[in-house]
């Protein structure tokens, strides 16, 4: 993995830059430059790679962020915005000549308006904290990425994060009403607000999922929703991926939209069962978790209909959660799947492609072939309702050459996702990880247009450099590897 070559002239000015940032953000512990402290910022959730930044600054207000951006703009210093650092694609990976602007000191809930069903919070507020701020009125914030305890709402906006309930509630962009944006040259711009839809061009829609390429978001207004009366999952097991896939099609085709529809293949089931004893059947090739919500009697009716549909697809296993404990156990299995895979393998890469649901059996078949070609075991977890596929490639980073081989394996899987009509990233973003694959999904003139729009916001290309777009032919240097 390579990054653009660092600008040595900036690195030589490091002390002056650190001093200046300290003057802009005078609160204690706002600037991090000491060797032992800055190491916490050298990587994110893509922990195979690391790079110590020039300096880290943690502003307390939007105005401080604006002043930092103005300074960095004048001094031609690259900036990487960072929330909680949970990106799985290296979206918050620093550069050696760049300043990391961390938003995690900005954690205030600014306004909750139940009558308009909106909440305005600072960018460093965690995803789960928004729900916690409104749950006393039985409201919630819908997108629920599995990192929701740690990840920040600013990072969710940057990556248009999803979660297990997107089929019913959509992803971040569908729940976002407004942001306060600091531009590369330090202007503060409000985009959207508490009202619906844009006055002019939908720049809010453009900003969401732009991975820090267009500016730094410091405040976020989201839609909050009333929680349903109840929800209950059922667990289904099938003798083949094809049968499970056909059952998914039949459920959706029947007119019922479950709030969650999750698929796990055999390697994933076995890893989970060995780890948390969720009660998953071990003698099946695939399980589905189907959850519906509503009043108790409505749930009974809907699960009854889904059970009837499932019975037409020869399930080997079928169980409706009889109580809250059983429901929690079913979900605990799914939610601990990544950790479970981490237990049976020294390392794994989590892939984040999206495919049309109808292509699932074929895609899994071809992933099986890729698995045999590379000699890696692959466990597949799939948000079946929305087509987001997470193959986990199990490998050993300590064995020479294995990381590179696992990355090639992942690239082959992502190309397969594009080939069957899907895309490179459903919810993790492109970051540094899938940057070079963008040329596989997009033609040159399509990337040209996206980069022209990037330059409309960031003419000198100072924001989150080395991400999203393929590296140009300019000088570059290898990125550090994990010890």
């Amino acid at each position: 993995m390579r990054m653009p070559a660092a600008n040595q002239a900036i690195i030589e000015r490091r002390q002056a830059i650190v001093d200046a940032l300290g003057r802009i953000c005078p609160a204690p512990e706002s600037v991090i430059a000491a060797d032992d402290e800055i190491r916490a910022y050298e990587t994110d959730g893509l922990s195979a790679y690391r790079q110590i930044p020039l300096a880290v600054v943690l502003p307390s207000t939007t105005e401080e962020v604006a002043a930092v951006m103005r300074y960095c703009h004048e001094q031609n210093i690259p900036v990487t915005a960072r929330g909680a650092g949970t990106s799985l694609a290296g979206g918050a990976m620093p550069t050696a000549d760049g300043v990391v602007v961390g938003l995690m000191k900005m954690r205030r809930i600014l306004e909750v308006d139940f009558d308009s069903r909106s909440a305005t919070v600072e960018a460093g507020v965690t995803n789960l904290a928004i729900t916690q701020a409104v749950e006393h009125e039985e409201f919630f914030y819908a997108p629920d990425p599995s990192s929701q305890l740690a990840c920040s709402i600013g990072g969710n906006v940057a990556n248009n994060s999803g979660g297990a309930h997107c089929l019913r509630y959509g992803v971040t962009t569908n729940n976002l009403l407004g942001v306060r944006l600091v531009t590369v040259d330090g202007a503060i711009v409000d985009v959207g607000g508490k009202h619906a839809d844009a006055a002019g061009l939908d720049l809010l829609g453009l900003l969401c999922g732009s991975e820090g390429q267009l500016g730094v978001v410091t405040e976020v207004t989201v839609r909050i929703l009333k929680a349903p009366e109840g929800a209950r999952p059922m667990l289904l097991g099938f003798a083949s991926n094809e049968r499970a896939g056909a059952c998914v099609d039949a459920i959706i085709g029947s007119g019922i939209i479950p709030v969650a529809l999750e698929f796990m293949d055999k390697p994933a089931i076995h890893a989970v069962e060995a780890f948390v004893k969720a009660g998953y059947p071990l003698d099946v090739e695939a399980v589905l978790i189907v959850e519906v919500e509503g009043a108790d009697d409505e749930i009974d009716t809907l699960l009854g209909r889904i059970e009837a549909i499932a019975r037409d697809h020869d399930p080997r296993y079928l169980r409706v959660a009889a109580n809250a404990q059983e429901a929690a156990a079913i979900w605990q299995g799914r939610k601990s799947a990544f950790g479970a895979v981490g237990r049976i393998s020294p390392d794994y890469i989590c892939i984040d492609g999206t495919i049309p649901t109808s292509a699932l059996p074929e895609t899994l078949h071809r992933i099986g072939e890729i698995s045999r070609t590379y000699g890696f075991q692959i466990a597949n977890i799939f948000h079946a309702g929305d087509g987001n596929l997470h193959p986990l490639i199990l490998y050993d980073a300590n064995a020479p050459g294995e990381l590179e081989k696992a990355e090639r394996c992942g690239a082959d899987i992502l190309k397969l996702c594009v080939d069957v009509g899907g895309c490179l990233s459903g919810e993790h973003g492109v970051g540094i990880e899938k940057r070079e694959l963008m040329a596989y999904q997009f033609d040159e003139h399509e990337l040209d247009l996206q980069m022209a729009i990037k330059r409309a916001f960031d003419p000198a290309w100072q924001l989150n450099v080395g991400k999203v777009f393929p590296l140009d032919d300019g000088p570059s240097a290898p990125l550090g590897r994990a010890a």
């Binding site: 009125e137 009202h195 999904q441």
Partner: protein, 406 residues
């Protein structure tokens, strides 16, 4: 030669490329049903997209449909209806409001205007259902963004950007939507005898129930009385309408709970499936304000809790008439089409509470003279201009449709 009707996407690309080479501007036209919406465009050529027609992909079990931009909205709706599905955002049909009764609305025009009906508060806007586009940019290049899957964070999201761009960012050639099952039945609870403040409270209360209220509107007395629905026609009180869309077997219990939830607020009536559909059609297509045709019509977006109060104060001050949809977040207001059609006063009132106001219907001279779309703050306007310049460097597609000089 100045009126072009290409047969396919390649023909559209050729036409735009030729216009770019000749430095001649283009006005984009779908079915013409939105003619008169937006600032008047003065273009050297007209580019008609109506021949781009058809549904190349529809998979009911994947909840996805793809149509060429010139496909009539009705064709898309019928195809979905045959499989028991629908466009989630309940597309409005504004041809009568705009006096284009004989025109055929196209799916591309609907996307270009990002028009969403009453279900926007529960099922999202058009732009939320739109998951893929193909378009020809200002240099005549065929561009793709998004695709046929709902989760997609691969590169910049130009799909959202195209929704509501009114053709200023190129010519849409193909659009892909995520769709939903059509609900089995609907029913509407009417709560009468409400002024603006009481209406706000009832709608907020209904939306804060777990009953999945799919639409909520406030009709002041002079607007409620214009409905053709028997329970409303000729009434002299303000009414809140709350809609439930669900399975037939769930409806009686939900209705009972909803009634209980808002009971204290006033006398209630229930509209069954068909009457409910009629009322929400009148609201969706703004038929309650279509006549008299010489009045100017504004569309105002604001925080839901501000809406009814803002509506009543504007209607009183300007001798206007209007109603609130989207639980108070969307106001439609008809006023006299004289001077600036109330632009100054309306925009000042909207700016004071946050939101934006669009002049949807007005004589050409007024639309040429006042800002049809809400003016943006200077720095936001600068970003809008630079995005336009990135997609259409010569400024040749629908120049001036949204903002002067853009």
């Amino acid at each position: 030669m100045n009126d072009l009707t290409p047969a396919d996407e390649a023909g559209v690309a050729e036409a735009v490329k030729a216009a770019a080479t000749d430095a001649v501007s283009l006005e984009l036209v779908g079915g013409g049903s939105l003619e008169g919406f937006g600032r008047p465009v003065q273009a050297g050529r007209t580019l008609r997209l109506r021949q781009l027609r058809g549904i190349p992909l529809y998979r009911p079990s994947e909840l996805v449909i793809r149509a060429l931009a010139g496909t009539p909205v009705g064709e898309v709706v019928d195809a979905l209806d045959a499989e028991g599905q629908a466009l989630p955002f309940e597309p409005p049909d504004l041809r009568h409001l705009l006096g284009n009764d004989d025109a055929e609305p196209t799916i591309g025009g609907l996307v270009a205007a990002n028009l969403s009906g009453p279900a926007r508060i529960s099922r999202g806007a058009l732009r939320d259902s739109l998951i893929g586009v193909r378009f020809v940019d200002g240099q005549g290049r065929i561009q793709r963004s998004g695709g046929r899957v709902m989760k997609n964070v691969t590169g910049l999201d130009l799909v959202k950007l195209q929704a509501g761009a009114h053709g200023t960012l190129g010519a849409l050639t193909e659009v892909t939507f995520k769709v939903l099952p059509r609900s089995e039945t609907q029913s509407t609870l009417l709560v009468g005898g409400l002024d603006a403040a009481a209406a706000s409270r009832v709608m907020a209360r209904a939306m804060a129930s777990p009953l999945d209220v799919s639409a909520a509107a406030y009709l002041p007395p002079d607007v409620a009385a214009r409905s053709v629905v028997a329970e409303l026609a000729g009434r002299d009180d303000g009414v809140v309408a709350l809609r439930l869309d669900t399975f037939a077997s769930f409806l009686p219990e939900r209705l009972r709970k909803l009634r209980q939830h808002v009971a204290a607020a006033g006398a209630t009536d229930v509209l069954e499936d068909q009457a409910s559909g009629t009322l929400w059609g009148e609201i969706r297509d703004v038929r309650l304000l279509t006549h008299p045709l010489d009045r100017a019509v504004w569309r105002i977006s604001t925080a839901a809790s501000n809406g009814p109060r803002l509506l009543v104060s504007l209607a009183t001050d300007m001798d206007g008439r209007g109603f609130a949809d989207w639980s108070g977040g969307l106001l439609w207001l008809a006023v006299a089409a004289t001077d600036d059609a109330g632009a100054g006063a309306i925009r000042a009132a909207v700016d004071a509470v946050g939101g934006h106001a669009t002049l949807v219907r007005a004589p050409l001279a007024i639309r040429a003279a006042v800002d049809v779309f809400h003016p943006e703050a200077p720095r936001l306007a600068a970003l809008t201009r630079s995005v336009k310049a990135a997609v259409d460097p010569q400024g040749i597609v629908n120049p001036g449709r949204m903002y002067a000089g853009l």
